[in-house]
């Protein structure tokens, strides 16, 4: 009867091991091992009926359905703020220029692409915490050193939006780099303004009523969009960089840009 204390002692260790696993498959297998140990403990506690049931139900059937239910392939988790043309929801699907690049990346790596839409200001926090692999959605290349930046994939055009009327004529355009939602809000409030915005913000704004404003495009490409990655995603960063470089070299990138921004 010396086996019983050993098995009983192993039980909490097995349970704690299973529940601290990062991968779900490991956790499920860990719990299956726990159930087997539990069944043998029942047997040694003179409860053969319970042991058989626990082994058949707890160790076998539960494990089967959990293993079947979970996805074996990994995921590429992307957090993005919704930007028309770049990455947006349309009729239950996600489309856009950036989304197409991401799809190619996921396909190349054999991962399932999962996009979660969040507010623009949350993206950095989420990446820093490591809750997602990659950030997208018209992010202007920046020098935030806490994060990794992929090579730029799209130059932004610049647009000047100015209120009509005498007040606007004298005002110099100020660059407006607020978040997309703030920009839209400013236009919706029809406040008097004169600002330059980048392509993503312009596309978002252009769904609003722009009657009250003069809009003009400046042909000067100062800034670019890029994907942003968490500091620990070095390998992913390399893969993404290689992909963008090869896309640009083959001309696919230009073709895609023409398709999404006629």
């Amino acid at each position: 009867m010396s086996a019983l204390p050993v098995i009983l002692g192993l039980l909490p260790i097995a349970a704690a091991f299973a529940l601290t696993r990062r991968r779900r498959l490991d956790a499920i297998i860990g719990m299956a091992v726990f159930s087997l140990l539990l069944a043998s403990a029942f047997f040694l506690l003179h409860a053969p009926d319970v042991a058989i049931t626990e082994a058949a139900v707890g160790a076998a059937l539960v494990t089967f359905i959990y293993v079947l239910a979970i996805r074996k392939t990994g995921r590429l988790t992307v957090v993005a703020s919704e930007v028309p043309g770049l990455i947006e929801r349309a009729g239950g699907q996600i489309t856009g220029f950036e989304y197409e690049i991401l799809e190619r990346l996921a396909g190349r790596l054999g991962l399932d692409l999962v996009v979660q839409f969040v507010a623009r200001e949350e993206i950095e926090d989420i990446l820093l915490r490591g809750d997602a692999d990659l950030g997208a959605g018209g992010i202007l290349s920046d020098s935030d050193h806490r994060l990794l930046w992929a090579p730029p994939h799209l130059p932004t055009a610049r647009f000047v939006i100015a209120s009509r009327g005498p007040a606007a004529a004298v005002t110099e355009p100020v660059p407006f780099r607020g978040y997309v939602a703030d920009t839209i809000d400013a236009v919706r409030r029809r406040s008097t303004l004169c600002m330059t915005v980048d392509l993503a913000r312009f596309l978002a704004i252009s769904r609003q009523n722009l009657d009250a404003y003069d809009v003009r495009r400046i042909e000067e490409d100062a800034e670019t969009y890029a994907f942003v990655l968490g500091r620990s995603r070095g390998d992913l960063h390399r893969q993404l960089s290689a992909l963008i470089v090869s896309l640009r070299a083959s001309g696919d990138l230009d073709e895609m840009a023409r398709r999404h921004f006629p």
């Binding site: 029942f42 707890g58 979660q116």
Partner: protein, 121 residues
Amino acid sequence: MGILNGVTISIVLFGVGLLGLIFRRDLVIKLLALGLLNSAAILCLVSLGATPDGAAPFLPAPAARALVDPLPQAVVLSAIVINFAILALALVFVMLLVERYHTTDAQRIEQEAEAEEETWT
């Protein structure tokens, strides 16, 4: 029986399960922790009447050794099945949630669900 008796171990297991339920954000692992809670309670019941030198509850009773109390063993069978039913149904619901929210992270689902909801206060 020292510290390594079934009852003490089952209580420790219950504690582990509680921590798992609180700290793991992945719903699948939350469910595994829930299963652990139930298994802990089951182990507790089974170990109540267990003696190292007892005999499994089958007739005729052996003369030398005492039989183990069969009642906890009988009721525990129901508890195991109930545990399975809960785990299977909950898993199906997680699958339905994943279809809509594309994640098994409880907090993220919570946020999305809250965002969808009209303000009600």
